[in-house]
Symmetry: C2
Subunit: 315 residues, 2 copies
């Protein structure tokens, strides 16, 4: 059955019937708007859009995978402020001949990823469109802490990373060369593993700046350096190249550090901490904040492109 | 200059430089997420998406018009809960060859419409896409009142309308027949005039149910009737056909009541009130809630389609 066949309201009924609601959802789908708890008297809000052919391919990822990734991209932005996600709203634009099962499984993926952090899909909109497009807005709560912004890094701070980088980029390269294995890398591209609790944890530890690594580690730390008017220097030896990644890099003729340092889409969290902070195991030191500008690796500018531009990236 | 020419970050810089921020915006664009005031400890949230060729046409509306309408569609949903809008987030998908001026003027329209209610554009995302698409999320505050939902209408309640209906549909018909006048109707399609303050006002007066009229009056009151398990009967003589609309209807061979009763996109607010409530002038009584199901006009079911389905509507 196509989405045009069941119609807008029929599809909304089918999708909302599959959703479950977290405790922050005070009023879910079915009215003009949802109502979400904001105990902190502030709400953190972020929007990310995924466009078919640019951010995902239906022959590379299942609908459920795309749902997980669309949710993860947004939930990670909330975590990167030091907040806990509470809700997602989803605008879904679909070709009229799309199978309803695709939309339903997308909703399953969105809901399952949100449930990892106690959040839920509380509302949205649907429209026909020639281009399959998923725009997600995530909301979150700061629990009475100030948001951790990009502009607070200070010379002397430690740069630390929670989560992994390079895995999704490696999976993307594998898929784009026509392979389906190594499975571990391909799965990392399909469904990022985001260290959500590390966000509020970093805020509690006194992180001075934090960012979701979505454009690539060097590019995103570049945003932090620019906003904070500081320089960041990373230590290459802080990054171990996992065996599967090393083997794939060798087979594909790629420098694995290009994945680790410039690949996006794993949604790791990078943060800066005052040097006195005792970092828990989840936060791995990878470099230092210094006076100056820009990002270097072992004191040297990185040779090569450092991240994606979503208007220039090849289709 | 095209959006691909200035790139994602260049365009974000250009657009955010044009925005101004309301008092609810505690942290605006430029970080992983925005922070918005939610003094009520709850946030009202709604998402609406506009797709080129389906919800707007670039040869019918300027970018600024589209911005006004995209914002209005969302802000009206917030008002229809009895809330005051605080913020918008915007996901904008654009063909790479789109002129940056279009995106900048869109932002001007979004910002200007939001400013009518003291709200502002606090964040968003941009991507290239073959299909020009604007997904907007609006947030709002309930000021310690319960949300006015669709399910609270009771037999005996008065049905009342704030704002106008049929104007946007008339303008749409005029444009789709290849005309550019009457200007008043065409302008109503391009930029709806939404009675935003009527939403919180109705909540304060004790409205039992409320809805934003976006699908058409009969269709939307049908949603209220269904959710409330009641019937709604409208009085045709409660609707005066304005002269410009009557003249256009005659020239185009259309029943003007089909515009008034089934046309969407004016974003009027329809609400039900206990009969004892003294309605201010802005809220015009148009019918009654009774026992039963469905919506009738002068006791008789309406002959003809009552609203849009966004998957079936002709391109």
């Amino acid at each position: 059955m196509t989405v045009a066949g069941v119609g807008e309201f029929g599809l909304i009924d089918r999708v909302t019937a599959r959703l479950t609601y977290g405790k922050s959802c005070l009023l879910g789908p079915g009215d003009d708007a949802a109502v979400v708890a904001a105990p902190d008297r502030r709400v953190v809000a972020s929007t990310d859009v995924l466009v078919e052919g640019r951010h995902f391919r239906r022959d590379w990822s299942t609908a459920r995978d795309v749902g997980h990734r669309a949710a993860a991209a947004n939930l990670a932005d909330i975590a990167a402020m030091g907040a806990t996600p509470t809700a997602l709203l989803v605008a879904l634009c679909m070709p009229a001949d799309l199978d309803t099962a695709w939309a339903e499984e997308l909703a399953d993926g969105l809901g399952a990823e949100a449930a990892l952090v106690g959040a839920s899909v509380v509302g949205g909109d649907m429209s026909a469109s020639p281009t399959l497009t998923i725009a997600v807005t995530a909301l979150g709560d700061l629990a009475d802490r100030p948001p951790v912004v990009r502009s607070g890094a200070r010379p002397g701070d430690v740069v630390a990373l929670a989560g992994r980088t390079g895995w999704a980029a490696a999976g993307y390269t594998v898929l784009s060369r026509g392979f389906r294995t190594p499975r571990l890398l391909v799965e990392a591209f399909r469904r990022p593993e985001v260290p959500y609790p590390a966000g509020p944890e970093a805020a509690g530890l006194g992180a001075t700046a934090m960012i979701d690594v979505s454009d690539g580690l060097l590019a995103d730390l570049g945003h932090v350096a620019k906003a904070s008017r500081v320089a960041v220097d990373l230590r290459r030896d802080a990054f171990e190249v996992p065996r599967q990644m090393r083997d794939a890099a060798q087979a594909l003729g790629v420098d694995p550090y290009s994945w680790i340092l410039t690949g996006g889409d794993d949604h790791a969290l990078a943060a800066t901490f005052p040097p006195a902070v005792a970092l828990p195991e989840r936060w791995r030191p990878i470099g230092r904040v210094t006076e100056g500008a820009g990002v270097t690796v072992d004191g040297v500018p990185y040779a090569g492109p450092v991240g994606w531009d979503h208007f220039r990236r090849a289709e």
